[in-house]
């Protein structure tokens, strides 16, 4: 049983409700609560979309069939039946090989000079910790991972790139991200993974999911080339 009074539910539009945890600073693992609660709500299959962000969940309902208050009451009932940790029982660490080089790491040289690091130091720092997938979104399968070591904190590009290759690995602020399927992006790119992050034969074809743990593993150009052969 989850205490419904811990949550605020309010209208975003005529068919979207937002759910937020009140007094969020009291919950250091709020991201994981949001991820698990979203899974729980999605399982009911009554919502058109359940979008999870780091500090809120957006639920799209069919406003032709139900009113905002009916949708809100259904969500409250579902939250009451939610038990935290239900979605996070299987914990495995996904290893993501990355070829850190200027060939794919379009912004490696800039970061190296701005943050006074060598390219090797950047790849070592980036691959030293285990990251948590904080959220998925923005572009298809884009994973926000954190937190980066402070030495790698950086700003976004002033003008985002129109199209990045699938597998591009970028950094911005205290986050690192993986462009699973490519698309536009304003993060600084440090390398690329040969790992296929989209398996179209699976029911959920995205390999990286919210709540997962990820470790980056530096690889050489040869290993990158051989990877998919």
């Amino acid at each position: 049983m989850t205490n419904i009074d811990l949550f605020t539910i309010y209208d975003f539009s005529e068919n979207i409700l937002l759910i937020e945890i009140k007094n969020i600073s009291e919950y250091p693992d709020s991201t994981e609560i949001y991820i698990a609660l979203s899974e729980h709500l999605r399982k009911s299959s009554v919502w058109r979309e359940v979008v999870t962000a780091e500090e809120s969940i957006a639920i799209t309902y069919n406003s032709i069939d139900i009113s905002s208050s009916e949708a809100g009451n259904m969500i409250r009932n579902q939250i009451k039946r939610f038990r935290y940790f239900e979605g996070l029982d299987k914990k495995s660490i996904l290893s993501v090989p990355v070829y850190y080089s200027e060939e794919f790491g379009l912004d490696l040289q800039d970061i190296a000079s701005e943050n006074s690091l060598t390219i090797d130091e950047i790849s070592n720092l980036h691959s030293q910790d285990i990251y948590k997938v904080k959220m998925i979104g923005f572009t298809p399968g884009f994973a926000y991972l954190g937190d980066l070591p402070t030495e790698l904190f950086t700003t976004r590009l002033s003008a985002p790139r129109v199209s990045l290759a699938p597998g591009s690995v970028g950094i911005s602020g205290n986050r690192t991200g993986i462009y699973a399927l490519g698309g536009p992006g304003g993060w600084k790119i440090i390398g690329r993974t040969p790992l296929d992050l989209f398996n179209k034969n699976k029911k959920n074809p995205f390999v990286i999911l919210p709540g997962m743990e990820v470790r980056f593993e530096p690889i050489t150009k040869q290993q990158y080339k051989k990877f998919n052969n």
Binding site: E14, I16, E49, A58, F206
Partner: protein, 309 residues
């Protein structure tokens, strides 16, 4: 090879009703930018509302038919012609082998939809054939139509039982001025009190920097009281974000699923089709409505235009 693309037009893509239920994995809804005109084209063709059609942008394509088909064009009027004869909008026409459909430019609206009696052979991605250009997904290998290429079409199921007829003459044409109905967004209070009045009292101009991802607006700068970095939060089609320089951006059907700028307004879903028809230099004003009014309008629309069978 059933249709030859003589000229591609500015940006012509295969679109349907889009992908639903994948926004949590960062997948935009996509589909037709004007889903009303898409459904109208399919309705007139007696096809399922979700059938893939061609979406043409500002300047349409020139297509040569290599097999007989029936066609219909809806949305913005790009003065379509079959050979040299004007083709009436929103009206079925049967083309013969070697007939040529040529579409020109539109002066109002932005996008036309061309539906054929057969389905365009195209790629499906996560349950939709709509093209998402930024990641090259769906449609014709994720790309827009290429001049000199060919399209294939294949017979499809028809919806023979169309429940309602549409009076073609009642379909309103577009103008260069739009009044869009909006609901105040979660961060509406991030803007100053003068700007709150300006938003409803003044008008904005659609900038040249517009695409299926979004339309930037020019006009009186909006004062942001709170410009601290926002944690990325859910956004939707029709969310109006205010960027740091005080310029609003209307998110389109290919827009990102999460955004880091204040969500000051949300366009009511009833007006989503108009977002896809905004063209650079069009004038926009906003009219505030309540959640209840927005829901009532949607229900009313469902009643009048039942494209579902």
């Amino acid at each position: 090879m059933d249709i030859k693309v003589v000229s591609s037009g500015l940006q012509t893509t295969v679109q349907d009703m889009g992908r639903n239920g994948w926004r949590h994995m960062g997948v935009p809804t996509s589909g037709a930018a004007d889903k009303y005109s898409l459904q109208l084209a399919n309705f007139i063709s007696n096809k399922k509302p979700n059938s893939p059609t061609l979406e043409c942008t500002l300047t349409g394509p020139i297509l040569k038919f290599l097999k007989p088909l029936t066609i219909v064009v809806t949305g913005a009027d790009m003065t379509p012609k079959i050979n040299d004869i004007n083709l009436k909008m929103n009206t079925l026409y049967t083309v013969k082998v070697n007939d040529v459909l040529s579409m020109g430019n539109c002066s109002t609206g932005c996008r036309s939809y061309v539906a054929f009696s057969e389905d365009i052979v195209s790629d499906s991605f996560l349950g939709s054939k709509s093209t998402y250009l930024p990641a090259k997904l769906g449609g014709l290998a994720g790309l827009s139509l290429q001049s000199g290429s060919f399209l294939r079409t294949k017979p499809c199921d028809y919806d023979i039982q169309t429940s309602k007829n549409i009076e073609i003459d009642t379909i309103s044409s577009f103008s260069n001025e739009w009044e869009l109905r909006v609901i105040e967004g979660p961060e509406f209070n991030f803007i100053g009190s003068d700007s709150k009045k300006d938003i409803y009292g003044s008008s904005f101009i659609v900038s040249n920097d517009s695409s299926r991802m979004g339309s930037k607006l020019e006009g009186r700068r909006i004062e942001l009281l709170n410009d601290e970095h926002m944690i990325s939060a859910p956004v939707n089609i029709g969310t109006i974000q205010c960027s740091k320089n005080g310029m609003p951006i209307i998110l389109g059907c290919d827009a990102q699923t999460l955004g880091g700028y204040p969500r000051i307004l949300q366009i009511a879903e009833i007006d989503f089709p108009f977002i896809g028809q905004l063209r650079p230099y069009d004038k926009i004003s906003f009219k505030k409505i309540s959640i209840q009014e927005a829901q009532n309008e949607l229900k009313l629309q469902e009643l009048i235009y039942s494209f579902k069978n």
